[in-house]
């Protein structure tokens, strides 16, 4: 299909817009022979090119500068946040170290207790299932006792609604 005249204008204008003002200057146009030839014969596209160049130059001439106060406030805020993040990271690191230490000590104490129960059971001639259940109860006991105490404490507290009654 043969390109229409409108297509040629559209193509020329797109080339101008995408190339920017430097490329539309006379000496650079030689690199695009088609555009140069089109501009020579088309006054409206030539005007578009000239207007585009002016628009881009005008656009570049509008200075929007950050004020000193904005920059220093930003720098201060960034430093403050960096410090916060560093402290957060240190706290996380401490928590992680504590978790590892607790896990390790739990592992070691479980192993020692297991051996201890085994040794006592051997001396007392107990069946292995008996001392193993005893070991399990011993391990679970602190949690059970704490849970029971907390439940008992909750039951002893007066209901909330009572405290607001006059």
């Amino acid at each position: 299909m043969k390109p229409t005249n409108n297509d040629a204008h559209e193509r020329a204008r797109q080339l101008i817009a995408l190339a920017g003002p430097e490329a539309v200057s006379a000496d650079r146009l030689s690199s695009n022979a088609w555009l140069a030839a089109h501009l020579e014969g088309c006054a409206s596209c030539r005007a578009f090119a000239a207007n585009s160049v002016d628009a881009i130059h005008a656009l570049r001439a509008i200075p929007i500068a950050a004020g000193r106060a904005l920059v220093s406030t930003t720098q201060l805020r960034v430093r403050h946040r960096a410090l916060e993040l560093q402290r957060q990271r240190e706290r996380l690191w401490l928590v992680a170290v504590c978790c590892v230490a607790v896990a390790l000590s739990a592992l070691v104490s479980t192993f020692v207790l297991w051996r201890g129960f085994e040794w006592i059971a051997a001396r007392a001639h107990l069946a292995s299932s008996v001392w193993q259940v005893a070991f399990l109860v011993f391990c679970v006991m602190p949690t059970l006792i704490t849970a029971m105490l907390l439940l008992a404490k909750d039951n002893q507290l007066p209901p909330h609604t009572d405290s607001y009654r006059g």
Partner: protein
């Protein structure tokens, strides 16, 4: 440039505050200009400017040194701008267009030195027209024009920042420039 990006990436992973100070100094005008054009409001742009650098600090490890730092920086700023506008008005970048009701003109056109009185007046007038025209353009066109002609970014870089296909970038630049043309000829201010 690759060397510079690698150094920046390394510093950002360490959250080096001195590096961030340097980057803020280096990119202050470019970033603010981009945000002012994107949002059309100086005050919001300044808030986003600060938020952008905080985000750069927090998410610095995500910076890929294969790209230029400015490309990533503008992408971060853009996301924050969109989030800010969504909080205010649930829509996309198009929502930024409807915020030109403020009285304060974000684009200040200064007097230009080293030119004749006539040139000065002409340039100032052109600047005013373009500034007014920019405010009436859809935000995505403004963004494309600023990144292309003020920041000198390549079309590919703009596509990365705006997260749109290359063809869309080309069309936005063309349409934006075409829409700006009548303003240069002295269209209604």
């Amino acid at each position: 440039m690759a060397q510079e990006s690698t150094e920046i990436a390394r510093g950002l992973r360490r959250r080096d505050p001195d590096l961030l100070d340097r980057l803020i100094e280096q990119y202050q005008h470019r970033l603010l200009r981009y945000l002012v054009y994107l949002t059309g409001r100086r005050e919001l742009a300044e808030d986003l400017f600060q938020e952008t650098w905080i985000r750069v600090l927090e998410r610095g490890h995500q910076f890929n040194d294969k790209y230029a730092f400015s490309t990533w920086l503008f992408a971060v700023a853009r996301n924050l701008a969109i989030d800010a506008m969504r909080r205010k008005q649930p829509s996309s970048l198009d929502g930024l267009m409807n915020n030109n009701d403020d009285d304060d003109a974000p684009f200040d056109v200064p007097a230009i030195a080293h030119a004749s009185a006539f040139d000065l007046t002409l340039q100032r007038e052109q600047g005013e027209h373009i500034a007014a025209g920019m405010q009436h353009l859809p935000a995505e066109y403004r963004e494309a024009l600023v990144l292309r002609f003020q920041e000198g970014m390549s079309l590919e870089e703009i596509a990365t920042v705006a997260r749109v296909p290359l063809g869309t970038v080309k069309s936005r630049i063309y349409r934006g420039l075409s829409a700006l043309e009548p303003w240069l000829r002295g269209a209604p201010l």
